[in-house]
Symmetry: C2
Subunit: 201 residues, 2 copies
DNA sequence: CATAATCCCTAACAATTGTTAGGCAAATAT
DNA sequence: ATATTTGCCTAACAATTGTTAGGGATTATG
């Protein structure tokens, strides 16, 4: 009795692509079914409703993001290293699950009110993980004094933008992107100056 | 014979709020009409179609953003000052037209294919304005060597995120926000170090 | 006052939406 | 071999969608 059939995951994947492409509201059940070469009614043997699809995707991704940031906050010590690792995790998660990430990032607004609240809590959990890192950096006197919440939102928005233009065939690898963003962000935070652009911590 | 009746602007404003709140697809003509205490059919004496509403909002805002960046690129000389002014213009435009800006930023995906292409061109124009500034900064040896396109997208995503959390009643003014973001971004770009967090250019 | 324009209404349309009911066929388990 | 589960089908539903037709007021213009 597997928790999730293989077929359900196929539906989630197909739906994620369509939700990303056209938005949750604009992508119909018939669109999803059509992409799977199936009739719309057949979907309902694997899922309860369209909203359940959205919820599954959003909460699964939220859980993965949160797991990542918790691991970072538990293991690494130095704030800069923590931040760089957290960003790398984030970029990796996005580039390796572009469709589902897009849904997590932009389509959660369509969640039913019941789940919406819980989702926002989880997203706040994730942001809180970053806020802790920035605070730690300030306490360690490595980062400039900044409005923590403000800095975190700036960082996350930068990282999330990847989803708009990253493509697997592009010339930048996920690793390179993560490093670029990290450098950029660290420039905005770190106290010590870096004149050498090739500087690596 | 005014190009745009007053009533049409009211429709655009109401629609913008609903498009922002629920998304373009989810907000129906009856929702818009209802918010105006009017019947849905009555809207069609002022606008041609729902898509025309979206187009009006998107292109009007695009024009305003572009005007802003062109003015900056024509008048100011120093790259840092240009960038700070461009960011301030952007923040001002967003905070003073939050609903319409949200539509411009996030709902343009629903534009019909015909307008979509032109819209993307305009958005690219706007980004190109920022790219010029960053390039100028590198040439002037004020900015670090960075992937220009990359830096610009990072900057814009940071600035655009404002729309998610800015509220008129909040404690930060548009001016303060612009300064905060500018400082943060400049930290990531500028060659010279700033140890004093209260530093002003 | 007459004429035109502006603004909104009711009623209805065709299409599309998410979803359910009930059934057929193949694979799996007993 | 029988029973059960799994996966998909056709057909249809009620609701909602954007939009049009045609008409009745109220306001501005001559």
């Amino acid at each position: 009795m597997p928790e999730q059939s293989n077929r359900k995951q196929q539906i989630l994947q197909t739906a994620a692509h369509l939700f990303r492409q056209r938005g949750y509201q604009a992508a119909s059940m018939r669109d999803i079914a059509n992409a799977m070469q199936i009739e719309a009614a057949s979907l309902y043997h694997h899922i309860k409703s369209k909203e359940e699809i959205l919820e599954s995707i959003c909460f699964e991704m939220a859980a993965r993001f949160i797991t990542g940031i918790h691991e970072v906050n538990d293991i690494y010590f130095n704030a800069e290293e923590k931040l760089r690792t957290a960003i790398r995790n984030h970029v990796t998660l996005i580039t390796q699950n572009q469709a589902r990430s897009a849904v997590f990032l932009y389509e959660w607004r369509s969640l039913p009110e019941a789940s919406l609240e819980k989702f926002k809590e989880m997203r706040n959990d994730y942001e809180e993980g970053f806020r802790q890192i920035v605070k730690q950096g300030i306490e360690e006197d490595i980062f400039n004094e900044v409005e923590t919440k403000f800095a975190v939102l700036s960082i996350l928005s930068s990282v999330n933008w990847i989803n708009e233009w990253y493509s697997v065939e592009g010339k930048m690898s996920a690793e390179e992107i993560a490093q670029n963003i990290s450098n950029f962000v660290m420039g905005g935070l770190r106290k010590r100056m870096v004149t050498d652009p090739d500087y690596k911590p």
